[in-house]
Amino acid sequence: MDTTKPTAVALDDATVAFHLAGNRVYTAVEQARLSVEHGEFVAIVGPTGCGKSTLLNVAAGLLKPASGTVRIFDQPLTGLNRDAGYLFQGDALFPWKTAIDNVAIGLEIRGAPRAQALERAQGWLNSVGLGAFAGRYPHMLSGGQRKRVGLAQVLIRDPKILLMDEPFGPLDAQTRQIMGNLLLELWNADRKAVLFVTHDLEEAIALADRVVIMSAGPSARIIGDWRVPLARPRDISEVRMEKEFHALHREIWSVLKDEVMKGYAQSSQAPAEVE
């Protein structure tokens, strides 16, 4: 982490509200204050439906906050965040493009010659371990493989900020660990600023430099911010055995538990209108 450079993402009192039918307003996130320093890996953890994704969409410029400011490298964000790469929760690959075309597209739309784009795309597919699957269409790949292609698709553009929305959510436990290690390995190469949303506290601690906890929605707030004292480089499965890991997990969970119960109670009562 380098604090001499400007803060990569800074949300200042950002409030996000959605207009519902009948002039009602649903406040998803209230006065969120959050910063991600240059080269820092920040994980946001919170109960289901607390507006974690909303916060990420604000940082991406896909959503405008109702009040508060968003600054990217000290510049106020207008429109889409051009410095950010976004790995979505759901399937976001182009189903009609092969794996390699899916990765190359980020360069092609910038005007890179096709041959050069394909060559670099092949390089990225190799680094996510899918070198032999370049010609496959997304439906011929497993969930984990699709996430790898997605990662390559985002990273080939070399974004300064990486936004990730429960990217490994739908994967099985083993695949998640493998993907986590792959992510750390790739991230270690150039240490981009990362904002990583997850509902899995263990995953958050294992990956991040800082863990931010959100309260249950609606009007979710940021209620906690912990620094992770684990050394890098880390191995996801080994780091879970360490004493510091357990101590931190216990500490954060004591706060998070109540919010999870609240979030659960709400989601089982009122219809969840906005995720």
């Binding site: 889409l80 182009f94 009609w96 980020g106």
Partner: protein
């Protein structure tokens, strides 16, 4: 699922049994009573001979070519306009809202009633049949593409925008492929409707084509001719469908269940 040769054998068997029974009931009296009098039902043998005669004389090819030309033109014009207008409406919701009641009205209209109008406007040549086919094909493709583009996965669009696509690039890389894929998925239905449009048009008034052939035979109580025309038409449609399936499998190679998506 049974193996392919067994399946083919079973399919063949159904045909053989059907034509066998038909031949039997039409020629052999049962308790002194002919179940299928040949005057009304003809016999498979007569129908077969008729088809052979058409093939030998070569007269059938001209009619087939005319029907094929009409159906192809109707398909191309109908799908092209359906795709373009469906795409346009899906991207311009205001336009879609304005035209909505008229589109519904047009679609609810039984197309057969338009045939005399088209004959009046375009004459008895191929273009009145093409027009009839176009009105059928257009709506199938139009609704498919309209719905498909409107419901393009929002995550996909967000992803494309985050990857840095401009509005034009979004059209080219996201919405247009999506529109085309919906057009292709209605391929079987639209090709079928193109043939229906051509044959019905010919039947109602023309001087050539399969529909004309059937109509002529019907006019002189030539039942063998009617059935022969129907069978040629059926084989023609199966052949076209075979080609469409091949084309579809090629075009929709990226789709999980390419062959099963035709509506």
């Amino acid at each position: 699922m049974m193996s392919r040769p067994v399946l083919l054998l079973c399919q063949l068997l159904v045909g053989v049994v059907f034509f066998g029974l038909w031949q039997l009931f039409a020629t052999v009296p049962i308790f002194g009573y002919t179940v299928l009098p040949p005057f009304f039902f003809s016999t498979p043998l007569d129908v077969f001979n008729r088809i052979v005669k058409w093939l030998v004389e070569g007269s059938i090819w001209r009619h087939l070519m005319i029907t094929l030309t009409e159906a192809s033109l109707a398909f191309v014009i109908g799908s092209l306009s359906g795709t373009l207008i469906g795409f346009w409406f899906a991207r311009q919701q205001t336009i879609a809202a304005i035209f909505d009641p008229y589109v519904k009205m047009m679609n609810a209209l039984p197309r057969v009633v338009l045939a005399p109008i088209f004959a009046l406007w375009l004459g008895l040549g191929i273009w009145s049949k093409v027009a009839l086919g176009v009105t059928l094909v257009f709506f199938v493709v139009f609704f498919n593409v309209y719905q498909g583009v409107k419901e393009t996965n929002a995550t996909l669009v967000d992803n494309a925008r985050m990857l840095g696509m401009s509005e034009r690039q979004l059209l080219r890389h996201v919405f247009w492929p999506s529109a085309l894929s919906w057009m292709f998925s209605s391929l079987h239905t639209s090709v079928g409707f193109a043939v229906v449009g051509a044959v019905v048009g010919e039947y109602l008034g023309s001087a050539a084509g399969l529909g004309y052939l059937i109509q002529q035979a019907e006019g002189v109580f030539d039942v063998a001719g009617v059935f022969a025309g129907m069978i040629v038409l059926a084989i023609f449609v199966v052949a076209i469908d075979f080609v469409v399936t091949k084309v579809e499998n090629r075009l929709l190679v990226w789709r999980p269940t390419a062959g099963e998506r035709g509506t």
